[in-house]
C-alpha cells in the first residue's frame, strides 16, 4: 500500500521523463520533435546520442533507455537478440540515402564512384565500416561497385556519421560518405556524388525504432506513436528523410 502511494505521489510530483537513445543522424530532428512533444504531452525527452552500435551496446548492457532509434537494422537486431525490446513495437521509421560529400571549398574532381579509387581522394571519412551503420552501408555500396578493396586503405573511420561529416567540413579529409540528410543540413559541405535509392534498390538505407523494456514502456509507446504521426512526419520530411 505504501509503495503504491509512494509510486503514485512520485508520478504526480514529477512529470514523466523518458530516455531516447537516438542514432546521431536523427539527433537534430529528434531534438526538434522532443520540444514539440514536451509542449503537447508534458513528457520530457532526454536524448542520448551516438553511433547506433554504441547505443545498442549500451542498451544490451542494461543502460537506461526507453526508445531506441537505430540507423540500421543490424544494431536493432542486436538489441532484439538480447531480449531488450518490447515485442511488436519495432517499426521501420524512416528511409534515407547515402551521399559522397566533399568540403565546400574542394576543387578536386570527384564526380563518379571510380574517382574515390583515384588520386583525388587520399583520405575518405566513413563511419567505422564494420559497425557504425553509415559506414556499414557505405562499405556495402563500395563492395557492390567492386571498389572496396581499393578504397579501404584510404578510409578514416569515425565513431558516428556526424564525426565523419565534421572531418569533411573542416577539410581534414578529401571526401566522406554520409547520409543525404546530414549533407543537406550543412552548407559547409557539398554533395559530390548522389547515391539515390532508386538507382540502388539492393541498398535499402532504413532507420528503425522500437520500445525498450523498462519502467516507462507506456510513455515510450506513446512517444513512438507520436514519431509516426503527422507532426513528427512533417519535421522528418522537412529535414529530407523519406517515409516508408
Amino acid at each position: 500500500m505504501i509503495r503504491v502511494l509512494l509510486a503514485f505521489s512520485l508520478a504526480v510530483a514529477q512529470p514523466e521523463r523518458i530516455i531516447v537513445s537516438v542514432a546521431a543522424t536523427m539527433q537534430a530532428a529528434l531534438a526538434e520533435i522532443a520540444d514539440q512533444y514536451k509542449a503537447v504531452s508534458g513528457v520530457a525527452i532526454d536524448l542520448n546520442t551516438g553511433g547506433s552500435n554504441t547505443l545498442a551496446r549500451q542498451i544490451v548492457e542494461g543502460a537506461p533507455a526507453d526508445v531506441f532509434l537505430s540507423a540500421d537494422d543490424i544494431q536493432m537486431d542486436a538489441v532484439a537478440r538480447a531480449n531488450r525490446l518490447v515485442p511488436d513495437t519495432r517499426v521501420t521509421l524512416l528511409t534515407n540515402e547515402l551521399a559522397v560529400i566533399v568540403p565546400g571549398d574542394s576543387t578536386k574532381r570527384i564526380t563518379s564512384p571510380i574517382d574515390l579509387a583515384g588520386s583525388a581522394v587520399v583520405r575518405l571519412a566513413l563511419g567505422e565500416p564494420s559497425s557504425v551503420p553509415a559506414g556499414v552501408y557505405a562499405r556495402k555500396w563500395l563492395e557492390r561497385l567492386k571498389l572496396w578493396t581499393i578504397v579501404a586503405p584510404k578510409v578514416v573511420p569515425f565513431p558516428t556519421v556526424l564525426s565523419a561529416l565534421s572531418a569533411v567540413e573542416a577539410g581534414r579529409v578529401d571526401a566522406g560518405i554520409v547520409y543525404r540528410t546530414d549533407a543537406i543540413a550543412r552548407s559547409t559541405v557539398k554533395v559530390a556524388i548522389a547515391i539515390p535509392a532508386r538507382a540502388n534498390p539492393d541498398l535499402a538505407v532504413v532507420h528503425s525504432a522500437a520500445v525498450v523494456r523498462g519502467a516507462h514502456e507506456a510513455a515510450a509507446r506513446a512517444f513512438l506513436a507520436y514519431l509516426q504521426g503527422p507532426q513528427a512526419k512533417a519535421v522528418f520530411a522537412r529535414r529530407g528523410f523519406g517515409l516508408p
Binding site: 542486436a78 587520399v122 567505422e128 564494420s130 559497425s131 578514416v156 573511420p157 569515425f158 577539410g171 579529409v173
Partner: protein, 222 residues
C-alpha cells in the same frame, strides 16, 4: 592473442619510444631553465609548460587538430610541402609528445635541482663554460631524474588516448594504438580482442613501474 593484437602493441611501443626520444631534448632544456634560471615571467612559463598535464588530453588533441589540420596555421604550411600529419603516425607521435612533455620536464627539473650547485661553481672557477658544465656536471648528476622522467613520459605516451584519437584517429594498422584500440574494439563489438590489448598494456605498465621503482630505489647507494 592475434597477429593484429601484437601489431598494435608493437606499433604503440615504437611510437612511444619515438615520442620519448624526441621529447627529451626540449624537456631537458626546459627542466634546466626552470631549475637554474630566474627571469621575468618564469611563473607564467612554468604554468604553460605544465598545461597539458592538467588540460583534458582531448582538449589538447583538439588544439593539435586545429594546428595541424589542412586549414590550420601549421598544417597549411606542412601541406604546402606535401607533409600530412593529421590521421597519420606522425600525429600519434606528436600527441604523445605534447601529453608527456610536462611530466618529463618536471622530472628533469627535480633532478637538476638536487644537483649541488657548488660543483657547478667549482667547474666554473676552473674555467668551464656553461655548456661544458651542463654536459659534464649537471646532466650526469641529474641522470636519475632524467631517466625517471623518460620512463614516466614513455609510460604516459603508451597510454595516451584523448589527444591521439582526436588528431590521429583510430585507423586500423595505421594510427591505432593500444589505448585507442581497446576503445574501438569494444565500440565495434570485438571486446574479446580488446582483452588481449588490456593484457599487453598491463604487462607494459608493470614493466615501466618496476624499472622506475628500481631506479628510485637505488637512489642513495653509491
Amino acid at each position: 592473442m592475434t597477429a593484429e593484437t601484437w601489431a598494435i602493441a608493437r606499433f604503440t611501443v615504437l611510437m612511444a619510444l619515438t615520442a620519448t626520444f624526441l621529447v627529451l631534448p626540449p624537456a631537458i632544456a626546459t627542466g634546466w631553465v626552470l631549475a637554474r634560471k630566474s627571469f621575468a615571467g618564469k611563473a607564467l612559463f612554468e604554468t604553460i609548460v605544465s598545461l597539458p598535464l592538467v588540460l583534458p588530453p582531448v582538449a589538447s588533441g583538439l588544439v593539435l587538430l586545429w594546428l595541424f589540420g589542412r586549414r590550420g596555421p601549421l598544417g597549411r604550411a606542412l601541406d604546402a610541402v606535401g607533409i600530412e600529419v593529421v590521421f597519420t603516425w606522425k600525429a600519434v607521435v606528436i600527441a604523445m609528445m605534447v601529453i608527456s612533455f610536462p611530466l618529463v620536464a618536471r622530472s628533469v627539473r627535480a633532478g637538476i635541482e638536487q644537483v649541488d650547485q657548488r660543483f657547478e661553481g667549482i667547474a666554473a672557477t676552473l674555467g668551464a663554460g656553461w655548456f661544458q658544465i651542463l654536459t659534464t656536471i649537471t646532466l650526469p648528476l641529474a641522470s636519475r631524474g632524467i631517466i625517471a622522467g623518460a620512463i614516466l613520459g614513455f609510460s604516459r605516451a603508451l597510454g595516451e588516448f584523448g589527444a591521439t584519437i582526436m588528431v590521429a584517429g583510430a585507423i586500423p594498422g595505421r594510427t591505432q594504438t593500444l589505448a585507442v584500440g581497446i576503445y574501438t574494439l569494444v565500440e565495434t563489438g570485438r571486446e574479446e580482442l580488446a582483452w588481449g590489448l588490456v593484457a599487453i598494456s598491463a604487462l607494459l605498465a608493470f614493466g615501466a613501474i618496476y624499472v622506475s621503482n628500481r631506479i628510485a630505489g637505488s637512489r642513495g647507494t653509491p
